[in-house]
Symmetry: C2
Subunit: 338 residues, 2 copies
Amino acid sequence: MQSSLPDPLGYISHADGTIALEPSATVFHYAQGLFEGLKAYRDANGKITMFRPDMNMKRMNASAERVALPTFDGDAVIELMKQLIRLDKHWIPDQEGYSLYIRPTMIGTEAALGIHPPNAALLYVICSPVGPYYRHGFKPVALYGTTEYTRASPGGIGAYKLSANYAPGVMVQKEAAKKGYIQNLWLYGPEHHVTEVGTMNAFIVFKQADGVLELVTPPLDGMILPGVTRDSVLALARDHASGKAPIEGMPEGKLVVTERPVTMKEVKKAAEEGRLVEFFGTGTAAVISPVDRIGYEGEDLHIPTGPDGMGVISRPIWKHLVGIQTGKIPHEWSVAVE
Amino acid sequence: MQSSLPDPLGYISHADGTIALEPSATVFHYAQGLFEGLKAYRDANGKITMFRPDMNMKRMNASAERVALPTFDGDAVIELMKQLIRLDKHWIPDQEGYSLYIRPTMIGTEAALGIHPPNAALLYVICSPVGPYYRHGFKPVALYGTTEYTRASPGGIGAYKLSANYAPGVMVQKEAAKKGYIQNLWLYGPEHHVTEVGTMNAFIVFKQADGVLELVTPPLDGMILPGVTRDSVLALARDHASGKAPIEGMPEGKLVVTERPVTMKEVKKAAEEGRLVEFFGTGTAAVISPVDRIGYEGEDLHIPTGPDGMGVISRPIWKHLVGIQTGKIPHEWSVAVE
């Protein structure tokens, strides 16, 4: 096929903001696409920051490598994002809970019916103002424990933020909604290991026999997306538990923070024994999303939440993390834009 | 974000043949895309036929349903493809082994950063003249038995022709190439079950202890693409084995045709005992692709092929199948275009 497009770019960027590609562009046929999501915040003094953009660039390069798209200099793209945010800074809302969502994207643009590493790719960044995920306080969600479908498997692509990981989940979420749940909980294997909550990482708080609270998330075993919020929650909780950086409002007593496999058998048993303290998802959009009900094998497990929708561990961690993100609490994770 | 695109289409089809989409089109971010591949042939009398297009439409609708894209009337799209082929019939080569490759494609075109079933989609068909896959006789390929990565898993999307199944394989094929193999053989699970050959279905011929030849392919267990060539090879071999429609040139003696799981242990043992008669891939592009070597756990298994690159079972089946496709052998699978 003859290409009408400027070689070697493979695409035309039109003045109306659209991207024009050949119908045979590899992103259409072979899902050669990936993305990231991060946020820029405007603090009370008007200072604009991004939250841990280096983590997104590192993951984006790992994703690119996994699907044979080109890797790139992450620091250079952070500089470009800063310039873009400065240009678009009037779009960053200054109300509480609002921010600028930033979506770096990469697509394979070569016009080719054969499947191979594309000889052309486009990296672009979308910005969009976003409001608070929960406008009227936290609203805990009900999850359907999915055992009929899997999100990821060993040797697969679950650990990468590839476009290919998302389309298959839409129908699964729709089926969960039909059953009366907001989102689905991805369970893996014959023992129904907890993996992810829709498109978020999963966290659970168990009360151990000795009364100690354990904050658990599944390990990065190749099936779990290495979420930036996941990493941040773990780091903050560990620094609290070790006494290095105590978090205000955390309950008295010892906290243990672990990355380990969790089965639904363990979750169910803890719920029955009144030791299931919390269950929540983490992600860039919602930061923390509390869960109050899990439909599993025909029955509902109930998880306690406070009057504000949060739990004893998620509430202070959320407050601390959002404090860092919005510049109220100074932290090296905040990267100044201007 | 404001969309400059005509609602509800979500795309602009430009006069230069390109498709213009918003940068936030769901196909870019969430792999809401799928495709099919089939061929149209011109026979010695100039008659133009398609091969089993109903199978492609059935599979395309199944793919669409799996990723929450709209389903459609397959017969209506076959009619549209016929009209397109009539328009483009001067592109169908009339040399031996040439055909018109037809690529129906569907993409989600809605501009939306949220993940949900797209409210707009585009179904389009690409045509491209293609030459013989093997210009100078069959050239058997060497496969690397991949145990580090998986193509599909139970509860996943391996049984659907989704764009999301292809990007992750490119790097795996590249790694096989670096090791000196042409393509990779996808092995699944702790027992290294044979699943697919690159982007083709896998067939194996074993000689049983009693001398009977067994043609085996892995069953449609949710991890295997239901290939049209796979189905056609099975149907022809079964009709030969039952005596209903003997295939010219098949070896004397009983043939058994089975869909059952095959492990590499079984393949290796058969190779060692001289009972591994054939190993080949099937797909629309190559029809049949013979394999003469498999790299597995550090050693090479060798598979006999004839001087023409084919084997005793694949040669007559290939000849018969291509005879049907090109109109030399009349068959209900051939659908007249004009």
